[in-house]
């Protein structure tokens, strides 16, 4: 356990700081914006696609290639769909003041 903490220090610091940043960012948001916010956050966790690209770029055997391809497609769906849906929601807030 101690060894684990020692060898992954920077990740653990990052983890703790980001938890607080995440809470701080959300805590004073009007409920009007909860849906777009959830949708926007949904798009941001699409960053998981980076992992699927790396895994795909290193895949050798057929099964891994197939699974990797599916992972890239699904990850892209999350990213593109997420940002586009959020944009459509927010587009509507802007038309008039």
């Amino acid at each position: 356990m101690i060894e684990f903490i020692a060898s992954n220090q920077d990740f653990i610091y990052l983890l703790i700081l980001m938890i607080f940043v995440g809470i701080e960012l959300i805590s004073h948001v009007p409920s009007v914006l909860h849906t777009p916010l959830m949708s926007g956050a949904n798009a941001i966790h699409g960053v998981v696609i980076i992992g699927s690209i790396i895994v795909m770029g290193q895949a050798e055997e057929t099964i891994s290639l197939v699974l990797g391809f599916i992972a890239v497609v699904l990850g892209t769906l999350n990213v593109v769909g997420g940002f586009v849906v959020t944009d459509r929601m927010l587009e509507m807030f802007k038309k008039r003041k």
Binding site: I54, T76, R88
Partner: protein, 488 residues
């Protein structure tokens, strides 16, 4: 090109800079999403950060040996296919179906995270030669850490995937609420089994290369059983929770690849999503545990048939309703999910403009959980150009009802149910509501006398001051509009 001794390092360093910029755009984007003025720009900034991170990874990534990524044709093929499908789905979806769309995309992210774990596991098996026992025998702590992270990413990603798909199906109306006998115990047991199996595998007590796949299947099953018994009205909370799950799964991926942008994006969404979930529960005056375990309706907690409110229901036709509205000084419209289903947001705006032209003051009362998601009504009404200032939040509108002549409730039910204040046995007791019963007159537009999403009766409908206008919200509003026009 001449490759100096530092050239390889420099290419990867450039990628680190890109990741840093991306991480910054995620934090900034999320911050800007929190205010109506900057929200759209914030979303675009985060999207920009995501784009450079993706293309930076494709072209600049190098492993420890300095090898670039292969299979670029498949990567680009996948990106193109995903972009095409995602773009079309997101552009075509109706505004009313936004919540389930978010759930669907969230599930895709979860599945992506789970697949990464599976492939990485196969990769590990392939390269260590000796399979799982070889890794375990080597007792290499870094390897064991990797294996544990793979399990964690797989379990959370798979739960998020299957759970999101069930939530999607429920909001689409394709899947009904179901509760197995003793479901809570089955769920807890299944979850413990998942954790124990993963632990047994990582600690080498069970040596089977196939165990990881078994755990994946169990996690999928758990996701299904986890969401199945939760009532449809609570889906927004569940989606928000699963959203933060996927964030955590993405963060595990970042840990696996020593990739800071994945880690930051993932944890940010994980923590922000968890808080958002709690805030949403608070808006309904319920705890998260209560939402997850104490399901509405299904348990038979409410006395729907027995001692429900009795009395006669007064119905009204649209011409009488139009007269009532025309000669009112102040009208408050309470939109609910029925408005969204009927796609009546444009007609309601037309009605509002007609009444304003007659000198009637019109406002909209927005309950924090009206519709299927917080902010759902705002998005919908903004679509039809309703003035932002006319949308009044619950705390601000409640004192105004006593000076309101007519309240028009359009397809809303639970959020105006006085039982939340008066009946301690009601499942929604304690939930803050719009106090429309204070107004002089209430017109409720509803398709039938069926109960609302919480599955409980609404005594408001039986009150003397209430008149029911039965029918589809859009049809009824359209006929109100034409009645008003005919009166001039």
């Amino acid at each position: 090109m001449v490759y100096g001794p530092w050239s390889k390092l420099r290419i990867m360093n450039l990628l680190y800079v890109i990741y840093l910029v991306s991480s910054f755009t995620f934090i900034l984007g999320l911050k800007m999403l929190g205010s109506p003025k900057s929200a759209r720009k914030g979303n675009l900034i985060a999207a920009f950060g995501m784009t450079i991170a993706i293309f930076g990874t494709i072209f600049l990534y190098e492993d420890e040996g300095g090898n670039h990524l292969h299979n670029l044709e498949f990567i680009f093929g996948g990106l193109l296919l995903g972009t095409g499908i995602g773009w079309l789905m997101a552009k075509r979806v109706q505004m009313t179906a936004m919540p389930q769309m978010v759930s669907f995309f969230n599930g895709m992210g979860g599945a992506c995270a789970a697949l990464i774990s599976v492939i990485e596991y196969r990769h590990l098996m392939h390269h260590t030669g000796g399979g799982l026992s070889g890794i375990l025998a080597s007792a290499d702590s870094a390897m064991l850490t990797r294996l544990s992270i793979m399990y964690a990413g797989l379990i959370i990603g798979a739960i998020s995937f299957s759970g999101s798909i069930i939530a999607y199906g429920k909001l689409e109306g394709k899947i009904k609420d179901k509760m197995l006998p003793g479901q809570q115990f089955i769920n807890i047991g299944l979850f413990l089994a998942l954790v124990v199996l993963a632990f047994l595998s990582v600690s080498g007590i069970i040596e089977s290369d196939m165990l990881l796949y078994g755990v994946g299947v169990l996690a999928l099953l758990y996701g299904v059983l986890f969401v199945m018994p939760i009532g449809g009205a609570d889906m927004p909370v569940v989606i928000s929770l699963l959203n933060s799950f996927t964030g955590v799964a993405a963060a595990f991926g970042g840990f696996l690849y020593d990739n800071k942008v994945m880690l930051i994006g993932g944890i940010l969404v994980g923590s922000a999503g968890t808080l958002l979930t709690i805030v949403m529960c608070r808006a309904m005056n319920r705890s998260l545990i209560n939402v997850l375990i104490g399901n509405f309706g299904g348990g038979g907690a409410s006395s729907a048939s027995g001692e429900g409110p009795q009395g006669t229901v007064k119905s009204i036709n649209s011409s009488d309703a139009a007269i009532l509205l025309k000669y009112a000084k102040k009208v408050v419209i309470v939109p609910g999910y029925g408005l969204a289903v009927a796609q009546a947001q444009h007609v309601v705006h037309e009605l509002e403009e007609l009444l304003e032209a007659e000198g009637v003051e019109v406002k909209y009362a927005i309950h924090p959980v009206a519709g299927r998601m917080p902010g759902h009504m705002n998005v919908l009404l903004a679509e039809s150009n309703v003035d932002y200032d006319k949308l009044v939040e619950m705390e601000d509108i409640n004192p105004e009802f006593s000076t309101t002549d007519v309240v028009v409730v359009i397809g809303a039910n639970d959020v105006v149910n006085p039982a939340a204040k008066t009946d301690p046995t009601s499942p929604i007791y304690g939930m803050p509501i719009l106090e429309v019963e204070d107004a002089r007159q209430t017109i409720v537009m509803k398709r039938s006398m069926n109960a609302g999403y919480a599955g409980i009766e609404n005594e408001l409908f039986y009150r003397d001051k209430t008149s029911m206008l039965f029918g589809d919200a859009k049809k009824m509003l359209t006929s109100l509009v034409s009645e008003l026009k005919a009166m001039d």
